[in-house]
């Protein structure tokens, strides 16, 4: 079996892994809908969004692999790390749930990524800025699509509304983690690599409020719960997901087609 790699603790590497892993793990969960979405158009939409996210993850992971004195490529970073070396927020690794859970998460993540990519267009790292220039348009498109669905389901039938409300209650507590600052964010701000995610909290809440208002849904209240995926401490779901995601490269090192 293929051995694991250990990534640098350099704060720039860590900052980029948080971003790249958010895209990668969110995409992996979206990909699970392939062949299972409620309608064929949405089956295609979810996998198309996943494809955009994989493309974004590739750009960011490629750059992360070149920094901090390492030389890892995107595939090594995607498939050969241990669970604790992934730094996505817990939100994106949670099981895909029903279509309402997926819709709410798509909205939460797309709104976040749109704000992040917007700021990263002026990153001091030219590679990151270049990836952001393209990704921001894709995130905007994903955001609009998710918001449309939130309105359709929130303002739909009693059952669709019940499901959306349940999904909001379930996922909202995981939003608090997104906007916690630490030394990695501070270093990124100081070097000009990117913003502290905490700076995006107010515009993110405003974007969520717009969509929830349009859907006739109430803004959930903040809870004390704090998840820790961005620190590498994941939920019980992460390991199972990685086992499936990494199986092929672990068993057939360097396998390509």
């Amino acid at each position: 079996m293929q051995d694991s790699i250990t990534v640098s603790t350099d704060p720039s590497v860590r900052y980029l892994l948080r971003l790249g892993d958010t895209c990668l793990i969110h995409a992996q969960r979206l990909g699970e809908w392939c062949g299972h979405a409620p309608i064929i158009e949405e089956d295609i939409a979810l996998t198309n969004i996943a494809l955009d996210l994989i493309g974004q993850a590739r750009g960011v992971l490629t750059r992360a692999g070149q920094l901090g004195g390492q030389q890892f490529d995107e595939d090594q970073l995607a498939f050969l790390r241990e669970e604790r070396d992934y730094f996505n927020p817990t939100l994106v690794e949670l099981p895909r749930g029903d279509f309402a859970v997926t819709t709410v998460r798509n909205l939460m993540v797309a709104a976040l990524l749109e704000l992040l990519w917007t700021r990263l267009q002026t990153s001091s790292d030219a590679e990151v800025a270049a990836v952001a220039g393209k990704a921001v348009k894709e995130a905007r498109y994903h955001h609009r699509h998710a918001a449309d669905w939130l309105v359709r389901l929130g303002d739909g039938t009693a059952e669709s509304r019940r499901r959306i409300e349940t999904a909001l209650d379930r996922l909202w507590p995981y939003s608090r983690e997104l906007f916690q600052s630490d030394a990695i964010d501070d270093a990124a701000l100081a070097s000009g690599l990117g913003p502290r995610w905490a700076e995006l909290r107010d515009p993110w809440l405003a974007a969520m409020r717009d969509a929830l208002d349009a859907a006739g849904l109430a803004m959930p209240t903040e809870t004390a719960f704090l998840s820790s995926g961005r620190q590498g401490i994941h939920s019980e779901h992460m390991g199972h997901m990685l086992a499936e995601m990494q199986y092929l490269q672990r068993s057939y090192p360097g396998g390509a087609w």
């Binding site: 158009e41 949405e42 295609i44 939409a45 198309n48 969004i49 996943a50 494809l51 955009d52 996210l53 994989i54 493309g55 974004q56 590739r58 750009g59 030219a126 590679e127 800025a129 270049a130 990836v131 220039g133 393209k134 990704a135 348009k137 894709e138 905007r140 498109y141 955001h143 609009r144 699509h145 918001a147 449309d148 939130l150 309105v151 359709r152 974007a207 717009d210 969509a211 349009a214 859907a215």
Partner: protein
């Protein structure tokens, strides 16, 4: 013939060859029609340097297009060739040539309608999105979106209310 004109001749021939390299997912368009080719230059070491801008971050055709470009130029005797991807500034559908737009319409795909350079504010109203494309089959402006995502990353699925035909729309980005 001087070396300078020979070089210019090789680059010019390369541009003509690139007119014949199709996008594998929208084969009616060449990589030039799409506006993917930034430059073709002869490097000091005699290599032909081709710079491409990828279209979508996750477009699975990008690597195939790189290979097709190298193969086509090699086959035309214009090698050795080196292809570089340049991401900034990001590709936009505004770079699709007028010729490309015409070819898309003739192929049954509505070309992107509005300038994609600027951010369009997100309006969360059902059914209301950016300006609607006209139907590539009958020309009617009375069209509606069926799905924001279509058969490939670059397309959305629309329907014409006048002739009732569905059609692909090359989404502006």
């Amino acid at each position: 013939m001087t070396t300078a004109t020979a070089s210019a001749g090789r680059a010019a021939r390369a541009w003509a060859v690139l007119d014949g390299v199709p996008d594998p997912e929208v084969p009616v368009l060449s990589v030039r029609d799409l506006g993917m080719v930034r430059s073709v230059d002869l490097a000091g070491d005699g290599t032909l340097d081709v710079v491409l801008t990828p279209t979508y971050s996750g477009c699975p055709a990008t690597e195939m297009i790189e290979r097709s470009v190298i193969e086509a130029l090699d086959a035309a005797g214009l090698g050795p060739v080196r292809v570089t991807l340049r991401r900034a500034p990001a590709w936009t559908t505004d770079w699709i040539s007028d010729d490309g737009r015409r070819k898309l319409r003739e192929y049954g795909i509505a070309p992107p309608v509005h300038a994609a350079g600027e951010a369009v504010p997100i309006r969360i109203v059902r059914g209301a999105t950016a300006p609607a494309p006209s139907c590539p089959h009958c020309g009617s402006a009375d069209t509606e979106q069926i799905s924001a995502f279509g058969s490939t990353a670059c397309k959305a699925l629309w329907r014409c209310r006048a002739c009732a035909e569905p059609f692909d729309y090359f989404k502006p980005i």
